[in-house]
Amino acid sequence: MTKEYRTLHTTVNLPYELAFGATLTRFFDGLSAEKILGTRCPKCSRVLVPARSFCPRCFIDLDDWVEVGQTGTVETWSLVSYEYIGMAKTPPYITGLIRLDGADVSFTHLIGGIDMSSIDQVQSRLAIGTRVKAVWATEKPGSIFDIEYFVPI
């Protein structure tokens, strides 16, 4: 069917400048120095990573800073192979939840350093329960990609 009516092609593209605030600033400064920092809740005793200024459950201020391990255990993962406009990473890449040693919650990051050409290749190196460690980027400006990815040990 031919189009009877016209359509308007438009994009909305706006600039933003977003505040990290004190806690995330310190967390990302930590990444620049190759440290992964969390905060411990004095009430429920959980160590939360990334560091938080308040405990989401107890709703109290947190300022007990702890450095957690750079190694951890994969809780779940996905090989991402589809694309969409505005995508943060170019596929294929593996996203995962990693329970870092010393933390009570899981850390979201990429899993890399392995052959991603097929799901079989990936599964030969990666499963729930696989131990991984952080691989630091050469340039560390204080962003989530100061850690390039986590690699299976």
Binding site: Y5, V80, A88, V105, T108
Partner: protein, 380 residues
């Protein structure tokens, strides 16, 4: 709570990708609803719409644009963002408060005008941590799915069966968007999106406008011989940070329990006659069935294998074809309500289930791996 509130009528837009301008499309579904009841805009007490800016063709403050098209001129109306079951509740609240006799609830998404769903859902993520890592609803669901399969031994075939069942149901629903018959193999062999998810296990991007008219008890009885009553509501949000959550123990059980308690259902798996459950990712129908108490924990795979949830089963789930067949993102929750309404009133046509329906469940979800869940119980 003073008295009851009932659904008097429902209207859905045609499933074809429309060339109508958004405003005209909203007007059409609103007008169709009013015509079905045989009332004018002037007879409507209040209006609550559901639309999100990001799913609203790039027009911010969505209801500013379609205000008059939804019948709102010089009316006390409002809007809910993100989930149209929120709008359904707010319409009920406005009637139950005694301030309004009737409320029109309208949900609208014109998916064909929007960016891809995940271009938008990636904007749910905070910009510092999850967003740069590529977290969106699909990648989060993939993480959840792998855990679900591993923890309970749910197979890929069982997950794929959800798509097979729901798309088969959609063949009987003239309002469904995706209407084709598929096999388990076709589902599993469709292009991988975020492993273990494949394209056919991820909901499409659809146009969809849906409207229901709510009324206080006496007015509802005066306007229709078959009112369907709002009997229960439960909703619960989970914490935001993905790594803080147990993705298989979310807040759906809590939301469901609240709805069941309000509706006085003691054994939902026996008392619910039909369920319309939002399953933007196929496996989620199985997981949500477990968390809704419609089967035991870890038994979602066995539930679909047994045929229980098929159109002619003991507890049909998504006879409409569900979200896998039709996914007008924000409107999908109210589609569940409209479909439940039609099943109870016996007006579902070819996809009417093969049993009598007195109690129906409608569910919606949005956010990463089901961060928000809402459950509505309707009954005659």
């Amino acid at each position: 709570m003073s008295g009851r509130v009932g659904i008097v009528a429902a209207a859905e837009s045609s499933p074809a990708i429309t060339q109508d301008n958004m405003m005209d499309a909203v007007y059409k579904v609103t007008k169709e609803l009013l015509n079905k009841v045989g009332i004018d805009r002037d007879d409507v007490g209040t209006i609550v719409t559901a639309a999100s800016d990001v799913f609203h063709s790039g027009i911010s403050c969505a209801n500013s644009y379609y205000w008059e098209a939804s019948g709102g001129f010089l009316k006390n109306a409002s809007r809910q963002d993100g989930d149209s079951l929120f709008a359904f509740l707010y319409g009920c609240l406005r009637v139950l408060s005694g301030h309004f006799e009737t409320a029109m609830v309208i949900a609208l998404t014109k998916g064909s005008e929007n960016p891809e769903n995940d271009t938008v859902t990636s904007l749910y993520a905070d910009p510092f941590y999850h967003r740069p890592l590529g977290i969106n609803e699909t990648t989060a669901a993939a993480l959840q799915m792998r855990q679900y399969m591993e923890r309970y031994g749910i197979t890929a075939e069982q997950c794929a069966l959800v798509t097979v069942k729901n798309l088969r149901n959609a063949l009987f629903n003239p309002y469904a968007h995706i209407r084709k018959s598929v096999t388990v193999d076709e589902v599993l062999n469709s292009k991988a999106t975020a492993d273990p998810l494949t394209t056919l296990q991820c909901a499409p991007k659809s146009d969809g406008m849906v409207a229901v008219l709510l009324a206080a008890e006496d007015t509802a009885k005066a306007l229709t011989d078959h009112p369907v009553w709002f009997r229960g509501y439960g909703s619960a949000m989970d914490t935001y940070t993905l790594g803080d959550r147990d993705l298989l123990r979310g807040t759906l059980p809590q939301a469901a329990q609240a709805a069941y308690t309000m509706a006085r259902l003691e054994k939902p798996s026996e008392e619910v006659d039909v369920a319309e459950i939002s399953e933007p990712y196929g496996f989620q129908e199985l997981l949500w069935c477990e968390q809704l108490g419609l089967c035991a924990e870890g038994k979602g795979g066995r539930l679909i294998d047994s045929g229980t949830t098929h159109l002619d089963g003991r507890l049909p789930v998504n006879p409409s074809g569900g979200v896998l067949a039709t996914n007008p993102y924000v409107a999908r929750g109210l589609y569940r309500v409209a479909e439940a309404y039609w099943q109870i009133t016996g007006k579902a046509g070819e996809h009417q289930v093969k049993k009598s329906v007195h109690t129906a469940l409608a569910h919606s979800t949005h956010g990463f791996a089901g961060q928000s869940h809402t459950v509505v119980i309707l009954g005659d």
